[in-house]
């Protein structure tokens, strides 16, 4: 698994979709998710190089996100990537099983920091089912597992639309948060789309 290619692709997808993410955030947040994550991921992609070990790539991306993004998405995505990178350790090759453990560590990091559960209308609603689906399919290889994770993330993000937010700035709206997709769940789909594309081409 080429984690460098994954992160670069994630940055590209966020950049291309920044406006849509910001629009989703304008409806139920403060309208800056796309521009913030784009700023952070641009900086992260710049800080990376292809010759870093896979774990180090994710840790560097995470550390840069934390330093450059601000808001809630910086610490949350930053922690996810740092934890994933830490789980990979110094290994020079990453297979399907190792990546599964890294994704699980990322989810745990996000939940530890953000205290969100599934159903709170946050990024966890896309991340948690994606990790579970990945693990279930990991025996069939990286590309298949990554594809399964993407499908689950998409379904999870779509399922946030009817939910009432219980975490984050959208929770201040109470019932008025219903009917909108959570922007963090939407950007999490991009993380898995980047993973699926990278895994399929490797």
């Amino acid at each position: 698994m080429d984690t460098y290619a994954w992160m670069v692709r994630f940055a590209e997808l966020v950049s291309a979709d920044a406006e849509r993410l910001t629009r989703l955030d304008s409806a139920i947040g403060d309208g800056d998710h796309g521009s913030n994550l784009d700023r952070g991921m641009r900086a992260a992609a710049e800080a990376l190089s292809a010759d870093l070990p896979p774990g180090k790539v994710l840790m560097t991306a995470g550390r840069t996100l934390v330093s450059k993004t601000g808001g809630a998405s910086g610490p949350l995505y930053g922690t996810a990537l740092r934890r994933a990178g830490k789980a990979l350790g110094d290994a020079s090759e990453v297979g399907a099983a190792e990546l599964g453990a890294a994704l699980r560590a990322a989810l745990e990091g996000v939940q530890e920091l953000g205290k969100a559960e599934e159903g709170d209308k946050t990024m966890v609603d896309a991340l948690a089912p994606a990790v579970t689906a990945y693990e279930a399919a990991a025996g069939e290889g990286l590309a298949t597992a990554a594809r399964a994770a993407l499908d689950a993330a998409e379904k999870g993000a779509e399922a946030t639309v009817p939910l009432q937010a219980r975490k984050g700035r959208a929770s201040y709206l109470g019932p008025r948060s219903v009917g909108h997709q959570d922007p963090g769940a939407a950007s999490t789909v991009l993380l898995f789309r980047a993973l699926a594309e990278t895994a399929a081409s490797s």
């Binding site: 913030n36 601000g70 808001g71 709206l173 109470g174």
Partner: protein
């Protein structure tokens, strides 16, 4: 929307340059993006650090100085500062007695301060965070992000700052800030929305004859949208919401009628008169007051009313000398 700016991307940095030029008593680090008291760090003194998105001035940079904050870290407009910034501020004011972080309860602020506290602990600086959540417009629940931090932040920074200045220990400084938060409530009303420079359009739409009750300090929508009413009726709505949550009868209180940035002082004083009358009519005694723009939301019109139920000790700390760009008395 017209803005008195040079370039959208430089708004925060230009404001910091201006703070540095206008207030030589402050040390402004444009690289790290922190505003620090010029005499920091002082050995043995508990440091007091706050920060948050820009656009709320004078909060927080305007409250750095004698008897209040030791440092502030301004983030991008309405975006929390990043951990590196908060760590730089924490390190700059650490005099060996620990540092208190005053954090407004917004997810981004809470997370970034939490990460900064962990980094500070790696450098052997003991950090105690105090989260301010005084906004009664948000229904509190253990299943949500909880209430927002708003006007009571000014009370907590002033009172904890006074205790830190007089040599209070880390646990006591944090404790008094928590006590102020527990004894304070706020409720805000918007007459207009505001425009984040980078966005270029208002954060929400309000009709000519509409107002939004229960707003937060980022222009985020509030509890309910109603028709424009008189200042007396708006003050009644705000104080009734506060009184319902924290009964005020029989209390001696500190009251702030805070402008959101776009409402003339003349109107704020009118609202203050209504507030003092309301409180007297509901059995509360106003013993300290603040009228003006202290926690703003860019150029939003409207006001926020904050009330703190005082104790003799809190009153004494409120009265203690303070010398900052935004608040100064007794020195």
């Amino acid at each position: 929307m017209k803005k008195l700016i040079d370039a959208v991307d430089d708004v925060v940095l230009d404001a910091m340059r201006g703070m540095a030029a206008a207030h030589p008593s402050l040390r402004v680090d444009l690289e790290q993006r922190v505003i620090v008291r010029s005499d920091a760090p002082r050995t043995g003194k508990v440091g007091l650090v706050s920060g948050g998105g820009s656009g709320h001035e004078p909060l927080h940079g305007g409250f750095v100085g004698y008897g209040m904050l030791d440092a502030a870290c301004p983030g991008e407009v309405f975006t929390s500062p990043v951990p590196d910034q908060i760590l730089a501020a924490t390190t700059a004011v650490s005099g060996g007695a620990g540092v208190v972080h005053i954090v407004k309860n917004y997810t981004g602020d809470v997370l970034n301060f939490q990460m900064a506290a962990e980094l500070a602990e790696d450098e052997d600086i003991e950090v105690v965070p105090v989260v301010i959540d005084d906004d009664v417009a948000v229904q509190d629940s253990t299943f949500t992000a909880g209430r927002r931090g708003t006007g009571a932040t000014v009370f907590a920074e002033k009172i904890a700052g006074a205790l830190a200045e007089s040599g209070g220990a880390l646990a006591d400084v944090a404790g008094v800030a928590k006590e102020v938060n527990e004894r304070s409530r706020s409720f805000g009303v918007a007459l207009t929305a505001c425009t984040v420079p980078a966005a270029g359009r208002p954060t929400f739409e309000l009709g000519e004859d509409e107002i939004e009750l229960g707003i937060g300090i980022h222009g985020e929508p509030g509890r309910e949208r109603v028709r424009l009413r008189t200042a007396t009726e708006i003050v009644d709505a705000a104080l009734s919401a506060i009184d319902e949550d924290m009964p005020l009868s029989g209390s001696e209180v500190l009251v702030m009628v805070n402008g959101m940035g776009g409402t003339p002082l003349m109107e704020l004083y009118g609202a203050y008169a209504a507030a003092e009358k309301w409180l007297a009519g509901h059995g509360a005694t106003v013993s300290r007051r603040l009228v003006g723009n202290y926690v703003t939301s860019l150029e939003m019109a409207g006001c926020m009313i904050s009330v703190c139920r005082l104790t003799p000790r809190l009153t004494e700390l409120w009265d203690a000398p303070v010398e900052t760009p935004g608040l100064r008395w007794g020195r």
